[in-house]
């Protein structure tokens, strides 16, 4: 590193105590509770006293079919939302950085859903998705397509919520891709223009050179998807039955019921799940990272 060769006078301008304020807040309000979670997940906990019961909470968790389906739903939800966000927002970002009419208008309205509270989006879409009176099914009916019960059908509810999640999160993903595309040097695009059309530009310039943006979008939306709660809670409360329960909604239900130890065990399960999926993904992406 070039830094070690720099004189000490200069390094003094970057004092390590600058880390301190952030470290205190992060330590107190994030690290300590996180470490505490490992202990309390092994207890029967009332907040006033905790009885050590070993792995009993985890055994309960993995044997209860509704909790187990929450685990599987979480993975389905995260894979589906992050996948769709990449597939839709990359071409969208390309469109919004090209020369089309009404570009500024499109850019703004794509970002609108990001601004609205997730709770409001959830409530609005549960009305738009109502089976007989909802706008979506009225439109589908008018053009002769089937009208599913989006949120009432246990086989469909989770996917319906995931679609709304994609709609809401597309704006952020698109902005990240736009930044990625705009930081590709212009020479590459000129070369592509000589070689051929949009497909060449997409396949041979944007896909490889906006790779870092793709990694960022996948990681952020995957982490977001694994942790999702607001949308599920406002649209289905995990129902019908337990059909759309995810880990965070299970954690909340156990918390409400006063099973603090079990709720915390759910938190640790989520932590382990996120880490074993995201960590390898992250180090893979870091190795493949591109310097422009």
């Amino acid at each position: 590193m070039a830094t070690s060769a720099r004189p000490r006078v200069i390094m003094k301008a970057y004092p390590n105590w600058f880390y301190l304020p952030a470290a205190i807040v992060f330590g107190l309000f994030f690290l300590i509770p996180t470490v505490m979670a490992f202990y309390y997940s092994l207890t029967r906990w009332t907040l006033f006293d905790a009885t050590f019961i070993g792995f009993q909470n985890y055994i309960t968790f993995l044997n209860d079919p509704s909790l187990k389906s929450g685990l599987i739903n979480t993975i389905i939800y995260a894979v589906m939302t992050s996948g769709l966000k990449v597939i839709i927002s990359l071409p969208l970002a390309m469109l919004l950085t090209s020369n089309i009419r009404f570009k500024d208008f499109y850019r703004s309205i794509t970002f609108f859903p990001v601004l609205v509270s997730t709770v409001a989006v959830g409530i609005t879409f549960s009305m738009l998705m109502q089976p007989s009176t909802g706008l979506i099914n009225n439109v589908l009916g008018a053009i002769g397509l089937p009208q599913p019960d989006w949120l009432g059908n246990p086989d469909l509810a989770l996917y319906s919520v995931a679609l709304v999640d994609v709609w809401k999160g597309l704006g952020i993903a698109t902005v990240i891709f736009m930044a990625g595309i705009l930081s590709i040097p212009q020479e590459y695009f000129e070369a592509a223009r000589l070689e051929g059309g949009t497909w060449v530009k997409f396949r041979y310039i944007i896909i490889p050179l906006a790779r870092n943006a793709t990694f960022t979008v996948i990681l952020l939306s995957f982490i977001g998807g694994l942790r999702t709660f607001d949308l599920i809670w406002t649209m289905t409360r995990g129902g019908p039955g337990f059909a759309s329960d995810v880990l965070t909604s299970v954690i909340y239900k156990q918390y409400q019921a006063g099973f603090y130890g079990l709720s915390t065990a759910g938190n640790v399960v989520l932590f382990i799940l996120v880490t074993i999926i995201v960590y390898p993904l992250m180090s893979y992406f870091n190795r493949k990272e591109l310097e422009l």
Partner: protein, 278 residues
């Protein structure tokens, strides 16, 4: 040839415009239309022009509903947002500055804590317990601290990447002029981080203002009500007032919308400059 091309272009523009409006604008028009209806008419949840246009009356009713509960909620949410976003920007920029400039062993340790913060889901019940112990449970201060801790990692990520594009020569010149580290940070670095600050301010203020989960766990209680929670006063199993519900959505979207309109142009550039890295 050129006529044909004009027609295809026109056709493409029309298809794009219709698709964008259908997908992104129709849900908002639905919200606005229903926010302007009477209670009976809104209960039908139709996509139709209101027979009586009552938007202003409904907005006023939402704001004064339940002894100005909405005003209290907007006030609480604003305090929460301003307090946490200010701290997030300053504390994260301090970290990113030293981390990127030193890039030594300690900097990479800090970096791994940042990644941990980005990945690990917050442990809710232990946080409640710990906040109680600190006497910060059910207080705005406690909620602000939790929001700062949870949002800093992403801010540090954005700032650190953006720091790459700020030449070291600038701080070195300031050092030779005898400026103190704090002075260098506040009068040289922070102004140059502006585009990245915009990105952080927009994303984290929208997140915190609209946050539902945080207040649900850490800030319960009627006097602590925040904006998203007011929505639930208008839907219940027995009597829903959808016109007021949607008017409430309109009211609570105004603040994020103003922030967005104000900063829109700079949002993308703050993520550029090599900023797009995992």
């Amino acid at each position: 040839m050129s006529i044909r091309r004009t027609i295809t272009n026109l056709l493409r523009d029309v298809i794009l415009l219709v698709t964008f409006i259908l997908v992104f604008l129709v849900p908002f028009i639905f919200i606005l239309l229903n926010a302007a209806k009477t209670r009976q008419e809104a209960a039908l949840l139709e996509f139709r022009w209101p027979s009586e246009f009552l938007l202003w009356a409904n907005l006023r009713e939402v704001i004064t509903y339940g002894e100005n509960r909405m005003l209290l909620a907007l006030w609480n949410s604003t305090l929460l947002t301003v307090g946490s976003v200010t701290l997030i920007v300053v504390l994260s920029a301090l970290v990113a500055f030293v981390m990127q400039r030193r890039s030594d062993r300690l900097a990479s340790v800090v970096g791994s804590f940042m990644l941990a913060g980005l990945i690990i889901p917050p442990a809710v019940v232990p946080t409640v317990f710990f906040l109680q112990w600190l006497n910060l449970y059910k207080t705005l201060t406690g909620m602000i601290m939790v929001d700062v801790a949870l949002n800093m990692p992403f801010a540090i990520l954005i700032f650190r990447a953006f720091m790459n594009s700020i030449p070291r020569e600038l701080d070195e010149a300031a050092i030779l002029d005898g400026a103190s580290p704090l002075r260098i940070f506040f009068s040289v670095i922070l102004p140059l981080l502006r585009p990245a600050i915009v990105t952080v301010v927009v994303t984290s203020s929208v997140n915190i203002f609209n946050d539902f989960v945080g207040p649900l766990y850490f800030l319960p209680g009627e006097k602590n009500v925040t904006a998203p929670l007011t929505l639930f006063s208008f839907i219940s199993q027995f009597s829903s007032q959808y016109n007021l519900l949607f008017a409430d959505v309109v009211v609570m979207t105004i603040i994020p919308l103003i922030i967005f309109i104000f900063f829109q142009r700079q949002l993308v550039s703050g993520m550029m400059g090599g900023a797009i890295k995992g």
